[in-house]
Symmetry: C2
Amino acid sequence: MFAKRIERLTSSLVRDILAAASRPGVISFAGGLPAEEALYRPDLAQVQSAQQLNCWQYGQTEGEPQLREAIAAEARALGIACEASQVLVLSGSQQGIDLVSKLFIEEGTRVLVEAPAYLAAVQSFRLFGADFLPVTVDPTAGPDNQSFKVALEQAQLAYLTPTFQNPSGYCYPDEQRDRIAAALDTAGVPLFEDDPYRELAFDGAAPQPIVGRLKHAPWVYQGSFSKTLAPGLRLGFLIAHPILVPHLTRLKQAADLHSNRLSQHLILQALQGGLHEHVAQILPIYRERRDAMHVALQRHLGDLVTWQKPVGGLFFWVQFKQPVDTHALMKQALEAGVAIMPGDAFYTEKPALSCLRLNFSHSTPQDIEEGMARLASLLR
Amino acid sequence: MFAKRIERLTSSLVRDILAAASRPGVISFAGGLPAEEALYRPDLAQVQSAQQLNCWQYGQTEGEPQLREAIAAEARALGIACEASQVLVLSGSQQGIDLVSKLFIEEGTRVLVEAPAYLAAVQSFRLFGADFLPVTVDPTAGPDNQSFKVALEQAQLAYLTPTFQNPSGYCYPDEQRDRIAAALDTAGVPLFEDDPYRELAFDGAAPQPIVGRLKHAPWVYQGSFSKTLAPGLRLGFLIAHPILVPHLTRLKQAADLHSNRLSQHLILQALQGGLHEHVAQILPIYRERRDAMHVALQRHLGDLVTWQKPVGGLFFWVQFKQPVDTHALMKQALEAGVAIMPGDAFYTEKPALSCLRLNFSHSTPQDIEEGMARLASLLR
């Protein structure tokens, strides 16, 4: 009865973990939620009184013109030469993954992905029939240059999250970005650069996006307001090479006509005054939690695992020195009131090491300490 | 470079018409916009002050529990036996079309559609590779029973808009709905019933949905708040047979994680107090415009075309007595400041008669009279 792609809809393991993680009393390192204290809560009364709100009728598929202008200006400041006409407002950046999948991927399309990679992107690519070319991302050194080039020779699309990658936390330095941009230009392979964590930089700004360094290769760049403002507003954006924009616009129209106009209005207001101040205010919350998890890992698991202290984003990527059944551990941990995410969920092939992704943004420093202590007692 | 489906992304004719139709000074019968005067404009200040708003964090893919309960209760009152667990909140009902396409349609899937049919659904089905089995919907008598049965023998999915169909305006009576439900049960073909216009009933309530009459066949029913409240909020819903819900939920998660929570909050408030009153208030606006277009058609085009006065929805479906090049007429009309939609856009095969779809909801009675006079002068 169903289309063949439905067989490729991956199991609900992650959904099950996240559902269990949201139970009261569970300390969750499993999800990727912003801190409750960091959420942007716009003053709706002020929105209403300050101006004639005009957001109730159908709107444009591409997004509100002023918002597109503001997004393009922010992107130019990051070093992406672009016009507002290349901007498509999205109903969250997950939608960009759906649209790019539809544009490029059918059964057998070879997609270069990082290993580990963002899970929901891999799931979408798989749904549309992708074959994967995984390139290992070392948590300290990133992708190996030679492996990347070899994969690129086969690839029809490359998907990268070079800035505070989910899950590894790795941030590609300038010279690596330059090398990758040159390789993509030579191969003529389209780049899909996913950049939702850029603003959550704890130890200095991230380097210019890779798409800003490309000379020939087609590209799609996307960002999100979910980590800096409020995920409940479901608003993100993509910016694309001009040859891709008309197709992506029609795909967006077929997906949901256009994005929520009230959210677009609220986000535009934030962009025009307060987004960067808001981010500056929330960074200390994240930095404190990041540091708390680093200290708790040292204290409780320092002899069992290795990790890098992330310089941005929402996650620690933890590798066990000895093989561990992380799925069994996950179940035991849930019984002990701690939710963790097994690392193999982020791979398209079985990984060499046992690993975990641990989210630090949604737990208080006290809960981080307590959760890590519980985890350690299970492992001993 | 692109997936093969991109070749099936239909041309931008309709987008071009709608863009031209939105130019200042153009009287537009081309789109499907609610009356500006009928838009629901929630009091955001009151929303803010009345309660602790909790809509900024990530939410559930299926939608807010209270809203799902309220939608299920409304559906039960229409004669659809269902629970809240079968409800999926959508980012507009266009998203339901995308999700159902993904669930059922791949290259060569045979889909029974009405002829004419809702354009954006046909485009989505085509994008995913559907082959069409069109069943002619007579504007007076609906689909022929025998033709429907023959098409059903081949079909793998049936897509119907039985209530104030876009574009024909036709509303299936009870006995036709019963016959179709029985035929679907016999054939075991899943029904996708699209029902966005039900509340816009000018001459009495519409009959029970077909899905409520099914005994065995799987089904998806969807509705929208765009016609009754505000399309800019981009919120709709689907209700599905229990065996389909887990797949549709995962497809929704891959498409945009979940729908806008502020919109869900605003719509829930409307459902809890005021939606039906709001609809009762706006119906006279629509009835007046519908009657104005009926009179203007009689006055200006009565000898050239045939039509049924629609008992609901947003459109007149007008058939020429003699062949007319409706695309040339559309261009001439645009130059004369009137936007119309050629009827062949709504067919998967070339239709037997020349026809137009004329929207009456977004123009004042004066503009309807003026626009129709201009159209008539072009035709003489």
